[in-house]
């Protein structure tokens, strides 16, 4: 890529992400939301969090895979169920994933 193309890349990618992040606050503003929209927005977090977890753990490009990340998610689930503090949950997940990678050929 030439210097000009690289500058265009920075501007285009920055403009895209800025624009997408600006849409929500532009539409909603500080007005109160209609009840139906408020109910749906309260469900955005569980729906999107679950989608993000599934994507980050099981997706590899456009393929679904079960690999060391699954062990990390399992360890995190056990730690969450045991009501351990969040930093412990994060360390458990990283340790389990690292161990599986270390031990797998």
């Amino acid at each position: 890529m030439t210097g000009a193309q690289q500058a265009a890349l920075v501007i285009a990618l920055a403009a895209t992400t800025w624009g997408l992040r600006a849409i929500g606050p532009t539409i909603v503003g500080s007005r109160a939301l209609p009840a139906r929209l408020a109910r749906m927005i309260a469900l955005v977090a569980p729906a999107l969090l679950a989608g993000l977890i599934a994507w980050q753990v099981f997706a590899h490009g456009e393929r679904l895979v079960v690999d060391a990340r699954t062990a990390g998610l399992g360890a995190a689930a056990v730690a969450v169920a045991a009501r351990l503090p969040i930093p412990v949950v994060l360390i458990a997940a990283a340790t389990a994933t690292a161990l599986v990678r270390l031990l797998s050929p």
Binding site: A12, R39, V44, A47, L48, W55, V80, I86, A94
Partner: protein
């Protein structure tokens, strides 16, 4: 509880940024371009996708389209966070730039309610970690080897799982979570990356009726 997550998240993001800096140099992007992308786009998934496209010989347009798809989830995130932002229009739009996966997820204190200060604190610390990591990566700090060795790619999903568990207070929230995960898994093999996560918000339609 929340203070403890800033540091582990920052460490994971520094190493992620380091990987990005290394990759960006490997595919022939300049140091200024790599740092500029991290500082102004501030989007790991979009930046990694762009580097992948460039590595495959793609141009600017080919790199921007997947970034747009990958970040489509910013729209529902921005909608849910908007009532928590403060100040005039310009200020709100600037604050919205700190809404990334990590800050959005960590700052939700009750279903649909966000703590603005926490959002900005996590968002700002993540920005410094991401840009700093990129600089280290460019400087050739590839001495740690593959950061995946340390299992750090499992840290963010584990955080999201902790936060999700706290969200599952109603039958409806549990249904939305199952629906979101099912939609993402079902669509992953079928449509381009990014769309399956954005489509998870369709599960919020179960809130349509009282």
């Amino acid at each position: 509880m929340v203070r403890g997550i800033v540091l582990p998240l920052a460490v994971a993001t520094v190493l992620d940024g380091l990987t990005f800096g290394l990759l960006a140099r490997t595919v022939g992007l300049g140091a200024g371009t790599a740092v500029g992308l991290s500082a102004f786009a501030f989007s790991g998934s979009a930046q990694f996708a762009a580097v992948g496209v460039i590595a495959a010989g793609g141009g600017v347009l080919a790199a921007v389209v997947p970034a747009l798809l990958l970040n489509a989830r910013s729209v529902p995130m921005g909608l849910s966070v908007a009532p928590a932002l403060r100040g005039g229009r310009t200020r709100r739009l600037l604050e919205a730039q700190l809404v990334i996966d990590e800050s959005w997820a960590a700052s939700q204190v009750a279903p649909g309610r966000f703590d603005r200060r926490l959002l900005l604190a996590v968002g700002a610390s993540q920005w410094f970690a991401w840009v700093g990591g990129t600089v280290f990566g460019i400087a050739g700090a590839g001495l740690v080897g593959d950061p995946h060795r340390f299992g750090l790619d499992a840290v963010v999903p584990a955080l999201f799982l902790s936060l999700l568990a706290a969200q599952l207070t109603s039958h409806r929230a549990r249904l939305a979570a199952c629906g979101g995960a099912a939609i993402t898994v079902a669509l992953t093999p079928l449509v381009p990356p990014g769309i399956p996560v954005a489509a998870a918000v369709l599960a919020t339609l179960i809130g349509w009726r009282r």
